[in-house]
């Protein structure tokens, strides 16, 4: 993957409320990516962006039926492919 391709890869924070996508890879600190995978964000999992918090950050998303809140900066590390 070229660096440019990496930068333009869609990520969770870039989805619009209500949009669905599949997880491709989770970037970030080792313990963060581990925890995201343990919450079910493994490659191929469907995620749905629900909303942004009133002040723009964090965002709410659904994975495997559970709603989570995560900060935008971290959500940018969750690379997805649009469905």
């Amino acid at each position: 993957m070229t660096p440019t391709a990496f930068l333009t890869d869609p990520h969770l924070a870039g989805l619009l409320p209500g949009e669905r996508a599949l997880v491709r890879r989770v970037h970030g600190a080792p313990d963060f990516s581990r925890r995201m995978s343990e919450l079910g964000l493994v490659p191929g999992t469907e995620v749905r962006m629900v909303r942004r918090a009133p002040f723009g950050d964090p965002i709410e998303f659904v994975v495997r039926g559970t709603h989570f809140s995560i900060r935008r900066a971290e959500a940018e590390g969750i690379r997805v492919v649009a469905i």
């Binding site: 925890r35 995978s37 343990e38 493994v42 918090a53 009133p54 709603h67 809140s69």
Partner: protein, 746 residues
Amino acid sequence: MSSPSDLAQAPRETRTPRAIPLSSAFPAGTRRQPLVAVVGNPNSGKSTLFNRLTGLRQKVANYPGVTVDVGCGRCMLPSGTVVNLVDLPGAYSLRPRSPDEEIVRDVLLGIDTTTPLPDVVLLVLDASSLDRQLFLALQVLDLGLPTILVLNMVDIAREQGLLIDRTALERRLGVPIFETVGRTGEGIDALRLALDEQAPRPAIRPLAHSDAIATEVRALAARIAERGRATGADAERIAWALLCDEGGRMSRRLHSASDEEIAAHRARLEAADPDWRSVEAARGFAAVEALLLESTRKVSSVDPVRRRVDRIVTHRIVGPLLFALVMGVIFQAIYAGAQPMMDLIERGTSWFGGLLSATLPAGPLRSLLIDGVIAGVGTVLSFLPQIALLFLFIGLLEDTGYLARAAFILDRLMGVVGLPGRAFLPLLSSFACAIPGIMATRTIENRRDRLATIFVAPFMSCSARLPVYALLIGAFIPNIGWGPISLPGLVLFALYLFGIVVAFVTAWALRRTVLRGPRASSVMELPPYRTPAWRGLVTTITGQSLEFLKKAGTVIVAVSAVLWFLASYPAGAPETRVLQGELAAAEQAGDAAAVTALKTSVAGSTLRHSFAGQIGRALEPLIQPLGFDWRIGIGLVTSFAAREVMVSTMATVWNLSDASDESVSLRQAIREAKNPETGGASYVPLTGISLMVFFALACQCMSTVAVVRRETGGWTWPILMLVTMNVLAWVASFAVFQGGRAMGLG
């Protein structure tokens, strides 16, 4: 060969229960009873189930991470056997990211120092969230301990259209499965019956390692086996836990392998497979999906309540306004709603005091009981309604799920001062008491975030400050109202706001100085909305109120009695005797004005010459610039036992000065206090405001200091906190009093 302490805390040749050093959690005499560990995700209804089984009072709330302390209880089974239950903190995974989750891993691996390896694991899953929570179940089943699986909240799952084929799931996992509804108690009896039978060990090891991981795990396990007493699969489980424990403290506690060794294995693993960290989860969730495909069917999956409510609650404009409104209503309700009950209790205690004074002969004993004990306890008791209301509101917010939304809304704002949204719950709990609040910070994964939260938690106006505020507001703030809003209510709200602002400024300063560093990641679950578990709420409030009363009944009675002594003795100073003589003469002459004046003088003289007066006077030079006299000085000293003791101290001090039979309430006594030397009013409203500011900021609670020491593992933080808070309090009160005077107020 390693030292004898290597793995000594976890000697496990077999997986049978062993004799262990019992902690206070397992009182003597319980060691032969089987131990059942309740394990599950945060918010899986684990604690509600635990309460159902044990009947023990314990905090239950619909908010991830409320169970921060390990709850213990006993359960009598149908056969008459008694088992010990331990309610482990909620965990998303056995690869911990917080001290909370570390406890779960350590207990289940049998390496915890206080809790022995459980005989049975009661694995609780939220049935409506199986697709995610089954992952933890697979991790637990992988340990091979006898396990019973509980699908809790099946009612919600059914409502959401989820059909679960329990027998199919049982067959695949090889452990018995039970369906329960913790809130109503459905299925609990069957579960009790099941606990009576020997639970089977799971038939499967669902989470096989990839080749790359297995290689390193085996290599590290061989080293552990060489040194410690763990062998075979046990050593491999410990090895894998050690490899996953990046940045954790497991190796330092376990001494089974050095940090360098572990790092070397990890580096080799990293080279072989850079994605090794998500292999377990990827395999686990693949297994979960296969399991669910076979054993469940989903008919519909929308939660209309959540969608509708969240649309309003987290709305861009309505959401924050609603939050402010909810907080405002809570504080107004606490102030106004408790009033009738408070009046009733106050009348009750004064009636009781009158009864005693009519039956007991005059003398030191009567004086001690009425002026020391009953006056002290009675005053503190009258604030119980406010405290119960506060606990009720916090409990309601937690139970309904609104608290998580509040954290969601506030995360950005909290981020301005460098705190995570998650710090909201510990800080909110600190409005009740800083001690549970500080303990609740264990759910904050990052140490810097956690320390900052601990440090500022005591700035939140705890319930012990409420009596002091209420007394001073009652004494100095005129009761003017505009419709539902009253000036006293506004002042109380302002005091709470003041504590919050100072807490945030302090947090901001900490995160830029001693606790500098990037914000840690914060992933937070937003649970579904639920109707409050009223039963649990009532037991929680009762427990917390009783706790407060117990404190009022022991510490405060003791302090009241000591204070009565300090304020009454040594009696009979020459000056007092002269005044008493003059008083007797004036009484005989029937000079009413002189009698009133002399009575005040006698009381003032007694206090001035008492031990308490001497201590207060010694403090006076330090606190005079804040507008406080030596009588308040006495209160500041005694409030170190607990802040609310200030109120009973004042009661004791003023009841003594009020030697007449006319009942003057404490508020009036303070308002009308005369300076014995000048004859003018001792306190002006500005004194009251200065004193409230002092109480809002000062660290006057020895229990808080002790808890901070325990939670931070040293004296550095508690001492830093004690000094910072008290210096801040002095400076702020000084600014308020001197600034106010300069502006011509008071």
